[in-house]
Amino acid sequence: MARGFRLSSELIAGVVVGAVIGWGFDRLLSTSPWGLIVFFLLGFVAGVVNVIRSAGVSPERTGR
């Protein structure tokens, strides 16, 4: 359960942060909805990168 929580929280954190950045970007520059769309997808990518790193699939990139 601990491992599952670890990986899922990594993915969710990436998506949430991406969505928040996109939303803030839209509010500041009134580019709605493009900022949200782009940063949401980038957030997904960042989340997947996080998951791969914390799962230790590519050990040379885990930052150790």
């Binding site: 601990a2 954190a13 949430v16 980038l42 957030g43 960042a46 990139r61």
Partner: protein, 249 residues
């Protein structure tokens, strides 16, 4: 009567003062934080008071916890990371002791509230940022530019790396909070099955043995989770501090 969320209630004990219109109160959460700090101080000060060459029980507990955290820092952030030993050790001991206190029935688990874990994670995050810029200057930005990436996809990778970096405090805090919250709710739900089945008379009491046994087993699991989450929080802190000391992959 049966309310698995009730254990997370914040109760005001007394009011300290006001900032603007916001009341600043001493709550049961603050009380349990003080209890954990008092227990840690008792262990560490009491443990090293004797200063025996052959440590007694108390002293070896204090020495074991020191060795444990020191080894974690050395293996994850190198010996340069030992500068941050006071921070990492305080974080580890605070989270572990407050989680352990939370296992005892009728107590309050400090880290089951996201505001507590977020403030701990942001403390680490800003320590990494401030120290990273202080130590490396603008070279700290190398953290976002992995080497060996073709120039035409570099902007995309940099944006992804920045989002990944910003998501660290979120996942760092949510992990600890969600584990403690979910574990304690599960424990309470299984415990409430015992009383619910007990309402059916004798057959119910016999059937209640199963959830009772599960509750005991889950308590043992929670003990493991309490330690493990403190350890995971510490390891991640070390990895992030390592990034501040040596940016660039």
């Amino acid at each position: 009567m049966i309310d698995p969320i009730h254990q997370f209630n914040i109760d005001k004990i007394f009011t300290i003062g006001h900032i603007g219109n916001q009341e600043i109160a001493f709550t049961n959460s603050s009380a349990y934080m003080f209890v954990s700090v008092a227990l840690i101080s008792l262990l560490m000060i009491g443990g090293v008071a004797g200063r025996q060459l052959v440590p007694g029980r108390f002293q070896s507990m204090a020495e074991l916890s020191y060795e444990f955290v020191a080894n974690t820092i050395r293996s994850n952030a190198g010996s340069e990371g030992m500068k941050f030993f006071p921070l990492v050790f305080s974080l580890f001991m605070f989270i572990m002791v407050s989680n352990m206190i939370g296992i005892i029935p009728y107590t309050f688990t400090v880290s089951s509230h996201i505001i507590v874990t977020v403030s701990l994670a942001l403390l680490v995050f800003f320590t990494v940022l401030v120290y990273g810029f202080y130590k490396n200057g603008l070279k700290f930005f190398k953290l976002f530019v992995p080497s060996g990436v073709p120039i035409y996809i570099l902007p995309l990778v940099v944006v992804i790396e920045i989002i990944s970096f910003l998501s660290r405090p979120v996942s760092h805090s949510v992990r600890l909070f969600a584990n403690m919250l979910a574990g304690h709710i599960t424990l309470k739900v299984f415990a409430s099955f015992v009383t619910m089945l007990g309402a059916f008379g004798f057959v119910g009491w016999v059937g209640a043995i199963l959830p009772l046994g599960l509750t005991v087993a889950l308590t043992a699991l929670e003990l493991l989770v309490a330690f493990l989450q403190a350890y995971v929080f510490t390891i991640l802190t070390c990895i992030y501090i390592n990034d501040a000391i040596h940016p660039g992959h």
